[in-house]
Symmetry: C2
Subunit: 95 residues, 2 copies
């Protein structure tokens, strides 16, 4: 099972990324031109989550925004699983 | 533009439904067997939203749950647009 990352490892993991730490989670906020584009991104994140068998919270809100929240519930915080998924999301085509 | 519904109309609109009122919104919480089923529902809601050009907040969370939150921002509360979309969501095949 993945272990919760140290504060230091967490800071290093989000450095130079759009992700921020919020409590025991990693959070990404993205804004798009319209709902269709926002939802297309949400779908890509959901597909990656299924592939990784690791499921973030995905919120489509305000018609053009998406918030992705990553955490490993079994570890009570952010693990390497979350960092790996955050990087896969960052690598999505066109993001 | 759609007008905000009266408290009385709102109570009548959610009677005998899974929807609850929360502040100036209508909220539906659904739980599924797995992420794939939860996401399939979220996608159906998103498709209805695009068709209606009325966009609820859609949250996929806790790997198998979906929360849909309806409100009409321009009216500052729940309007007939929200009630109509809630009924379209209720009418989704297999729900």
């Amino acid at each position: 099972m993945a272990d919760k990352l140290s504060e230091q490892a967490l800071v290093a993991a989000v450095a130079d990324s759009e992700w921020v730490t919020a409590g025991e989670t990693l959070v990404l906020d993205r804004e798009f031109a319209d709902f269709a584009s926002a939802w297309a991104f949400a779908e890509q994140v959901a597909a990656l989550a299924e592939t990784a068998n690791h499921h973030p919270d995905i919120l489509a809100h305000g018609w053009n925004k998406v918030r992705v929240t990553l955490s490993t519930h079994s570890a009570g915080g952010v693990t390497q699983l979350d960092v790996d998924l955050s990087r896969a999301i960052d690598a999505l085509h066109g993001q």
